[in-house]
């Protein structure tokens, strides 16, 4: 419980701040919407800043029992290097998305009719997004399984609601499908939690880890929890819900869903497999890796076949999430049966740079379809000449995803490749390279449409400056991630048990 007094306030702030802000924004007047967003962004940035100042100093994990009630009865918040890095990424991406949303939903001093897509988006985006932000921060900091269940459920409900902000039948259906997948997933997770409690009599991640869980019942619990969370992370072949849902949400919502929300359930899988169970080499990690490989190939191929910009970016998310699961077989290939640090840092570096780059791409794609009021690739023909900064943001984000140096994506792929080659895993190395090439192909396909002058758009709505530079800021950040890798990888490596 060292340095608890300092860090507990910051930990509480990053979870409660956006939650309170969400309630403020829910009041729904233009003023409270702006106030809520400002409050959410401000409290998270201050809280994360405070955590950076208090973290370190020898102790790799900060623990805080809320209200002085520790495990097993109370709620433990815990912060390690991994949680800090994820919190920071979410804070930066979230701040940019919040700024973007104020311009995207237009002049919110006038709220149009409740059921018009624009009106509903303007009215409900901020409260829903702030709620999701609070749940995500809670997931990063949570030290016990049942809290994870409650938070992942909040995340799922809020995310499904975000999809249905557009009132089209397509968006409603996509949101319904997402909600059902999400509910089945979290129930499977809860069943796993219940089984573990029967076996071990505790919910604390750290106490469970000390149990050294073995035997059929804990294995069944892990299987249930993993399948549930994998469905929510859209791991191939459970990915079919993702592209229609992510494409149907309004642009800032798509960015939230693709860049951040899917990372929440992935983070839980990692906590379970690495921290709690410490799953070693065997068929289980290999299967996860194979599914990841399937996601990379299938997602990329489908991305190449899309005719709609947002669906293309959404299929790219399916593919990029595959890399996160390829991390597992590489992770267990360390010397003498230990963890492979390169795989760990590479995997999470990919989660970071994908979060930043994908948000930049979705925001830029949103600006493009905002300008031409359509979403198919042929409609953005020649847009590079009208929106050069947005075009550049999409391009930089895309090249970072493809792993072109110097960028965050390059560092991630390089670490993963090093992990694969150290173990003689030529198959994985080949897959990583092929995935990068496919990514490059679909990014270049979009860029080609955007440069092509032959069929310029007939209608063109001016795009607010703020929408352009927030996407650009994120794109630059995704490139800058390639320059200051050492501090982040050290933090990540320190979190490996």
């Amino acid at each position: 419980m060292t340095s608890g007094l300092d860090s507990i306030h910051w930990m509480t702030l990053v979870v409660l701040g956006p939650l309170v802000a969400s309630m403020v924004a829910l009041a729904g007047t233009p003023r409270t919407l702006r106030l809520g967003l400002a409050l959410g962004v401000g409290s998270v940035l201050v809280g994360v800043g405070g955590l950076w100042l208090t973290f370190g100093g020898g102790d790799p994990v900060l623990r805080n029992p809320l209200g002085g009630w520790g495990a097993p009865l109370g709620i433990d918040l815990r912060l390690d290097g991994l949680a800090l890095v994820m919190l920071t990424m979410t804070a930066l991406v979230g701040a940019a998305i919040s700024l973007y949303s104020t311009a995207y939903f237009g002049d919110i001093s006038f709220l149009p009719l409740r059921d018009s897509p624009a009106g509903r988006g303007a009215r409900f985006f901020a409260p829903l997004w702030l709620l999701l932000w609070s749940a995500l921060n809670g997931i990063y900091l949570s030290g016990d399984l049942f809290n994870l269940y409650v938070l992942i459920e909040i995340l799922g409900l809020g995310a499904a609601a975000l999809v249905t902000l557009a009132v089209t039948p397509k968006a409603t259906v996509a949101g319904m499908r997402y909600l059902l997948v999400s509910l089945v997933g979290s129930l499977a997770f809860l069943m796993g939690v219940a089984l573990l409690y029967v076996v071990a009599g505790t919910l604390s991640l750290e106490l469970l880890a000390e149990e050294g869980l073995q035997g059929p019942l804990p294995a069944a619990a892990l299987a249930l929890m993993t399948v549930g969370m994998a469905a929510k992370t859209a791991l191939f072949p459970l990915h079919a819900w993702l592209p229609p849902a992510h494409a149907a949400a309004p642009a800032p919502g798509s960015a939230v869903l693709s860049a951040l929300v899917v990372k929440g359930s992935f983070y839980i899988i990692v906590r379970l497999w690495v921290d709690v169970y410490g799953v070693g080499p065997g068929p289980a990690v290999f299967v996860l890796g194979l599914l990841g490989a399937g996601a990379i190939l299938w997602g990329s191929i489908l991305a190449l076949r899309q005719r709609s910009l947002k669906r293309l970016v959404a299929y790219s998310t399916v593919a990029q999430l595959g890399y996160l699961f390829v991390m597992f077989p590489l992770l267990v290939s360390g010397d003498g049966g230990g963890w492979n640090v390169d795989a760990w840092t590479g995997g999470f570096y990919h989660a970071l740079s994908h979060g930043v780059a994908k948000a930049a791409m979705f925001l830029a794609a949103g600006s493009m379809s905002y300008a031409v009021a359509r979403d198919d690739l042929s409609a953005i023909s020649g847009i590079a000449h009208r929106l050069p900064m947005t075009f550049l943001a999409f391009g930089l984000g895309g090249l970072s995803l493809a792993g072109i140096p110097p960028s965050g994506g390059f560092v991630a792929k390089w670490l993963l490749l090093r992990a694969a080659l150290a173990d003689g895993g030529w198959g994985w190395a080949l897959l990583l390279t092929l995935g990068g090439l496919l990514t490059l192909a679909y990014v270049l396909m979009v860029l080609r449409y955007a440069i092509d002058r032959t069929d310029p758009p007939t209608t063109f709505r001016p795009v607010p400056r703020r929408m352009e530079w927030t996407a650009m800021g994120l794109a630059l950040l995704s490139v800058l991630l390639g320059f200051r890798a050492v501090e982040i990888t050290e933090l990540l490596a320190g979190a490996l048990p």
Partner: protein
Amino acid sequence: MTPLDLYTLAGVILFAAGIHAALARAHLVWKVLGLNVAGGGIFLVLLAASPRVDPAVADPVPQAMVLTGIVVAVAASALALGLALRVAVRTGQPFLPEDLPADLPEDLLEDLAGDAAADAAANGAGDAAGDAAG
């Protein structure tokens, strides 16, 4: 087999039956009901765990989990039923398009389709404008 084992077993069976209904039934209300049955099954397992951990006193933690779980389940069911109603109103069918019987008119299927058929339909200008309007 003790009564507690019976509770646990019944809970697991309910969970499986509920999840099966949620996946296999086409009607959205059936799916939501299935999820609630599955949730009930989990609660039963948790309650059976309560005296098992410490035979002398019932453990309050699983009971607290069930209470919280019920609150979450109510919220989730409310949202799911509300959305199901919207789906029924906006598409004219209380089903997801992939669960629809195959003999429906072609244009309706295309209209509703989520994944593959929407790619084929190549984004009619109408819904794309809905996506983009901000």
